[in-house]
C-alpha cells in the first residue's frame, strides 16, 4: 500500500454526494427526534423516549465523524435487530410475570376512576336542564358557573361547586329558545369552548341536596345525579353511599380486586399486577394445559416436518421430470405447476376448507366418498398436510428446478458411463449436490411451517375438538397460544406471554439443531 492511495480515498469519502447524504441522514434523524420526543414525553412513554434518544445519539456519534467505520456498517442491522426482535422478546418475558389482560390493562388509579365514574346515577324525577356555561375569567381557564333553564317552567338557576342552585332574577340574563344566551358581566362559552374544558366541567358539580348534584351532560344540557360510590384514599376502600357497604382490596386467585365483605369480587375492573411465576406454574403444573402443550408440540413437529418433506419430495420429483430434455412443452407445464403459488394463500385455504366439507364438499362429491374430513382427527390432520402440500410444492419445484439447472449434466452422464442406474445417479449424485443449495431453504421452510398460523386457522380452525378441550386435533403451538390468549375469559396476555416464552425457547433449541444439521451438510461437501 503506497502513501499516494490514501489521499485518493480521503477525497472520495468526502465527495459532495456523500457529504449531502450524510447531512440529509443526520438532518432527518434530528428532525424525527425533535418531532417525536415531545409526543413521547406527553404520553409518558419513557422507555421509547430512551430508545429514541439513545439511537439518535448513536446515529450522530457514528455517522458524523469519519471514525468507527465498522460501527457504521454494524449499526443499522443491530438497531433493527434490537428494536424488532430483542425488545419484543424482553417485553414478552416481562409480561409473562404479570396478569396483563382484559380487565387488568391499566393502573389501580384508572380502575378506581372507572369504578367511581360508572356509579353516577341520574335522579329519576329531576328535570334535565338546558345548560349554559359562563365565566368571569377566560373561556379556557374559568372559573366557570352554570346557568340552567328548567324546561318545564322556564325558571333560570345559577350555581357552581361552592354555591348551590339559586334562582336568577329575570332581568340579569337573556333567555332565547329555552336557554340562557347572555349574562350581564360574564362571558358565555360557545359549544366548542364548553367541549374544550369539558373535563374540568365534569368536576364542577352544583350541589342540589346532600347526595345529588347538577352535572353537565354534553355541551348544552345538565342532569341531576348522584355518585353512588366514593373512594377513600387513606383507607384504600370504596364506599357505597346508598347502602353503606364498604369494599376493600382483596385477593381473588392471585390478583387484587375490590371485594365485598364476603370476599367476593365486587367490580370487574382490576389493574396490572405482578403475579410472579404463577403463569408458568399454571402452564407446567396444570395437567390438562401441560398435556395440551405436549400434544400440540408433537403435532407441530409432525406438521412442519411433514409439510417440508412432502412438498420437497413432490417439488423435486416434478422438477426432475420437467428437467428432462426429451419432454416437450416444458415451459407450459412449469407455468401450470406454479399456479397454486400464484393464488393468494388466504383464498386457497378458505376454498380448500370448503372442499373438505363432508356432505357438500368438492372432494367427497367428486370421488363419491363420505369421509368426515374435519370431524375425524386423523383425517383432519391428513387434510391439513394435503392442503399444505398443494400450497407449498410449487415453491420447492421452483427452487429445485433452479438448483438442478446449476448441476452440470456431465456429472450425471459420467455416472451413467460408470454404470450407475438412473435412480442411483439421481440419489447419489444429483440429490446430494442439490441439497447443498436447497438445505437452508428446507430449514427456513420448516421454521415457517412451525409457526404457520394461517394454514391451521383458516383451514380447520384447529378442529376437530374430540375431547371437548380447548386444543383441537390440528392445533399447532402458535394457534393454541392464540386460543389461550383470546379464548377463555377474554384476552389473557400474561399467560399467553408465558406460553410464548416457552415457545421461543423451543424454537431456539430447534433452530440450533437445524444449524448443526446444515453445517454437517456443508462439511460433507
Amino acid at each position: 500500500m503506497t502513501s499516494t492511495h490514501a489521499p485518493v480515498h480521503r477525497t472520495r469519502s468526502t465527495s459532495v454526494p456523500a457529504m449531502v447524504t450524510r447531512i440529509l441522514v443526520l438532518g432527518i434523524t434530528l428532525a424525527v427526534t425533535v418531532f417525536i420526543a415531545p409526543v413521547l414525553i406527553s404520553q409518558q412513554s419513557w422507555m421509547w423516549l430512551t430508545v429514541l434518544l439513545l439511537s439518535a445519539a448513536g446515529i450522530f456519534a457514528l455517522y458524523s465523524t469519519k471514525r468507527f467505520v465498522p460501527g457504521k456498517y454494524l449499526f443499522p442491522g443491530t438497531f433493527f435487530l434490537s428494536i424488532f426482535l430483542i425488545l419484543p422478546i424482553i417485553l414478552t418475558v416481562g409480561y409473562s410475570f404479570t396478569n396483563y389482560g382484559d380487565g387488568t390493562r391499566g393502573t389501580k388509579e384508572q380502575a378506581i376512576g372507572s369504578i367511581v365514574a360508572n356509579s353516577v346515577q341520574q335522579s329519576p324525577d329531576a328535570p334535565r336542564y338546558a345548560m349554559t356555561v359562563a365565566t368571569t375569567g377566560t373561556a379556557a381557564e374559568g372559573p366557570f358557573e352554570l346557568f340552567l333553564v328548567d324546561p318545564d317552567d322556564g325558571t333560570v338557576y345559577r350555581g357552581d361547586t361552592e354555591n348551590a342552585l339559586e334562582e336568577v332574577p329575570a332581568g340579569d340574563v337573556t333567555v332565547a329558545e329555552g336557554r340562557v344566551t347572555d349574562v350581564d358581566g360574564l362571558t358565555v362559552l360557545n359549544a366548542a369552548e364548553v367541549n374544550a374544558v369539558y373535563n374540568d366541567l365534569i368536576e364542577l358539580t352544583v350541589p342540589v341536596d346532600d347526595s345529588s348534584a347538577v352535572r353537565p351532560l354534553g355541551v348544552n344540557q345538565a342532569f341531576v345525579g348522584t355518585t353512588v360510590l366514593q373512594y377513600d384514599e387513606g383507607a384504600d376502600t370504596i364506599t357505597d353511599t346508598a347502602t353503606g357497604e364498604v369494599y376493600t382490596v382483596g385477593l381473588i386467585g392471585d390478583e387484587e380486586y375490590f371485594v365485598d365483605s364476603d370476599g367476593q369480587r365486587a367490580f370487574s375492573q382490576s389493574w396490572l399486577q405482578s403475579v410472579g411465576i404463577s403463569n408458568y406454574e399454571r402452564l407446567f403444573t396444570n395437567p390438562t394445559v401441560a398435556g395440551q402443550f405436549f400434544s400440540a408440540f408433537v403435532w407441530t413437529l409432525v406438521f412442519a416436518a411433514g409439510s417440508v418433506l412432502l412438498t420437497f419430495a413432490l417439488g423435486f420429483a416434478l422438477a426432475l421430470i420437467l428437467n428432462d430434455q426429451r419432454l416437450k412443452g416444458r415451459r407450459i407445464y412449469r407455468s401450470i405447476l406454479i399456479m397454486p403459488y400464484a393464488i393468494p394463500g388466504f383464498i386457497s385455504l378458505l376454498v380448500w376448507s370448503n372442499f373438505y366439507n363432508q356432505e357438500f364438499g368438492l372432494i367427497n362429491q367428486t370421488l363419491g366418498l363420505n369421509l368426515n374430513w374435519f370431524g375425524d382427527p386423523t383425517l383432519a390432520q391428513t387434510a391439513v398436510l394435503l392442503t399444505n402440500l398443494w400450497m407449498g410444492f410449487p415453491y420447492m419445484f421452483i427452487v429445485s428446478t433452479g438448483a438442478l439447472q446449476a448441476i452440470p449434466d456431465e456429472l450425471t452422464e459420467a455416472a451413467r458411463m460408470d454404470g450407475a442406474s438412473p435412480l442411483q445417479a439421481t440419489s447419489k449424485i444429483v440429490l446430494p449436490l442439490l441439497l447443498v443449495a436447497v438445505a437452508p431453504l428446507l430449514v427456513s421452510s420448516f421454521a415457517f411451517n412451525f409457526n404457520n398460523f394461517n394454514a391451521i386457522e383458516l383451514l380447520t380452525g384447529g378442529g376437530p375438538f374430540p375431547d371437548g378441550s380447548g386444543r383441537g386435533s390440528t392445533d399447532i403451538l402458535i394457534s393454541m397460544v392464540y386460543r389461550i390468549a383470546f379464548g377463555g375469559s377474554g384476552a389473557d396476555f400474561g399467560f399467553a406471554s408465558a406460553v410464548s416464552v416457552c415457545l421461543f425457547i423451543l424454537t431456539g433449541v430447534l433452530a440450533a439443531i437445524q444449524f448443526r444439521f446444515t453445517n454437517v451438510l456443508e462439511d460433507v461437501n
Binding site: 415531545p38 419484543p88 374435519f374 375438538f465 371437548g468 380447548g470 402458535i478 377474554g490
Partner: protein, 425 residues
C-alpha cells in the same frame, strides 16, 4: 423514515401487548393503515384520533358508510367536524380498547351491546345518561341491552336476532307452530335438507340458542336485582342436559349437521337445498334474490317445552372514556337517543331492524320482514354482556358440535360446563 418511525411505535405498542402473536399484532397495525385516519394509525402520532375540534367515530365497514352522512350533518349543526373511520368489525373492539388506553382512540365507537362487559372491565367507556322519556322513543329490548350492572352505557340504534325462513316450494308449513311440525313438514316436502343451521366442527352456540333454550338450557341465572350472575352458570346443569339429548336426537335424525357451516348455511337455503333456514336479518338480501316465495317467522320451540329464545344483539353507540371531545360525544348520544334522524338515515343505507319506535312505525308498512325481526327481538334474550360470556362460546360450541356428530350427550355437555367454570374462575 418519519412514517416508518411512527408506525413502528404503533407496532411497538401492539407488539408489547400481542407478544409474539405476530399474525394478530401485524393485522392490528395494518388496520391503522387501512382506516387512513390519524386515529387508528397513530400509536405515537401527536394528534391521535380524537383531537380537539374533530369528533371521531369508529364503525365497522358496513355501518360506517350508513352513519357518515347523518353524523356529518349532525356535526355541521352543532359546530364540530365529524369524522367516521372504518375499522374492521372483528378487530373493532380490541383496537378500541387498546387505542383508548393509549389515549389516541376515537370519541365514540359503534359496537354490539355484548361488548359492554369487557369495555367496562377495561374502563374503556363512560356511562351515558339517557333522557327520562327514553322509553317513549326506544324499544325496551334496546334499553335492556345497554343496561349493565344498573348503569346505562350506550345508545342503541338497531337490533339483530334470529328468525325462521321457510321456502314455500319445499314446505306446506311456512310458519310451523312447533319444531316437530317443522321437521315433518320439511320431510313431507321432500327437501334435501330439513333445516339449515350452521354448526361446523367448532359449533355455533349463537345459532343453536333457540334449540338449547327451548329444551330447557340456560347460560346464566339472574340475581335478585335482575343482573346476570356468573356464579350460576347453566351449562352442564339439568336443563342443558335435556337440551343435549334433543340436539343428539336431531343430529341422529339428520336435522342438524356438522357439514352445514357459516359458509354454506345461507346458500344452501337460497339454492333450494333446504326447506328452512335459521338466520338473521343479514340473510334477507340473499334470500330475496333467491327468487322463490318465502316467509320469515319466529323460531318455534319443541312441543310441550319452553319457547325458543334466540339471542338479541343490539348495535349501539358508546362514548370512549378517554374521548378528547367528551362534551360533543355526550351531546351526540343524547340526540341519537331522543330523535330518530340518525337512526333513520342509517336504516335507509343499511336496513337493520331499528330500535327507534317512531322509525319502526314509519317502516311498518313498507318492510314487513325487518319488522318481523324487530318483533322477534322483543321475545329474545339480550346476549349476556358479562365478561364471563366469552368463556362460554368455545366450550359450549364444541360440545354442541360433538353431540351433533354423535358424542355421548351428557358427558360432553358436563365437560363443557366444567371447562367454562374453570375459565370463569
Amino acid at each position: 423514515m418519519q412514517i416508518r418511525r411512527k408506525s413502528f411505535l404503533a407496532l411497538g405498542g401492539l407488539a408489547a401487548s400481542m407478544t409474539v402473536l405476530a399474525a394478530c399484532g401485524g393485522s392490528d397495525s395494518d388496520t391503522g393503515g387501512d382506516t387512513g385516519g390519524g386515529a387508528s394509525d397513530g400509536g405515537g402520532a401527536a394528534s391521535g384520533g380524537g383531537s380537539e375540534g374533530r369528533l371521531v367515530i369508529w364503525a365497522d365497514e358496513e355501518k360506517a358508510p350508513a352513519l357518515e352522512p347523518s353524523a356529518k350533518a349532525w356535526g355541521e349543526e352543532n359546530g364540530i367536524e365529524v369524522v367516521v373511520e372504518v375499522v374492521p368489525g372483528d378487530e373493532l373492539q380490541t383496537n378500541f380498547i387498546t387505542a383508548n388506553q393509549a389515549g389516541n382512540g376515537p370519541d365514540l365507537t359503534m359496537g354490539a351491546h355484548d361488548w359492554i362487559g369487557n369495555l367496562v372491565q377495561n374502563g374503556s367507556i363512560s356511562p351515558v345518561q339517557l333522557p327520562a322519556d327514553v322509553s317513549d322513543t326506544i324499544a325496551p329490548i334496546g334499553i335492556e341491552a345497554v343496561t349493565y350492572d344498573g348503569q346505562t352505557y350506550g345508545v342503541p340504534y338497531a337490533v339483530e336476532t334470529l328468525a325462521l325462513f321457510a321456502n314455500h316450494d319445499l314446505t306446506d308449513a311456512p310458519t310451523p307452530g312447533t319444531f316437530e311440525e317443522l321437521i315433518s313438514a320439511a320431510e313431507a316436502g321432500g327437501a334435501e335438507n330439513i333445516l339449515s343451521l350452521p354448526i361446523g366442527e367448532e359449533g355455533d352456540p349463537y345459532h343453536m340458542q333457540p334449540i338449547y333454550t327451548s329444551a330447557g338450557g340456560y347460560l346464566f341465572g339472574k340475581d335478585a336485582e335482575g343482573n346476570l350472575d356468573p356464579s350460576d352458570m347453566g351449562v352442564g346443569k339439568e336443563g342443558s342436559l335435556a337440551a343435549a339429548d334433543k340436539i343428539a336426537a336431531l343430529g341422529e335424525q339428520g336435522v342438524l349437521k356438522n357439514s352445514i357451516t357459516g359458509d354454506n348455511s345461507i346458500s344452501l337455503f337460497t339454492e333450494g337445498k333446504s326447506a328452512y333456514l335459521i338466520s338473521g336479518p343479514w340473510a334477507l338480501a340473499d334470500v330475496r334474490n333467491a327468487g322463490f316465495e318465502f316467509t320469515v317467522s319466529a323460531i318455534p320451540g319443541f312441543e310441550g317445552m319452553e319457547d325458543a329464545a334466540p339471542f338479541a344483539g343490539v348495535n349501539s353507540f358508546y362514548v370512549a372514556s378517554n374521548a378528547a371531545n367528551a362534551g360533543f360525544a355526550q351531546q351526540f348520544m343524547t340526540d341519537v337517543a331522543s330523535s330518530p334522524d340518525v337512526a333513520k338515515a342509517m336504516y335507509e343505507a343499511n336496513p337493520l331492524p331499528p330500535v327507534n319506535l317512531e322509525l319502526r312505525e314509519e317502516i311498518a308498512s313498507t318492510d314487513e320482514h325487518v319488522i318481523i325481526f324487530a318483533e322477534a327481538a322483543e321475545a329474545a334474550d339480550p346476549m349476556p354482556a358479562i365478561p364471563a360470556m366469552s368463556a362460554i362460546w368455545g366450550p359450549l360450541g364444541i360440545a354442541q358440535a360433538n353431540i351433533v356428530g354423535g358424542d355421548d350427550p351428557h358427558p360432553a355437555m358436563q365437560a363443557a360446563g366444567e371447562e367454562i367454570t374453570t375459565a370463569i374462575g
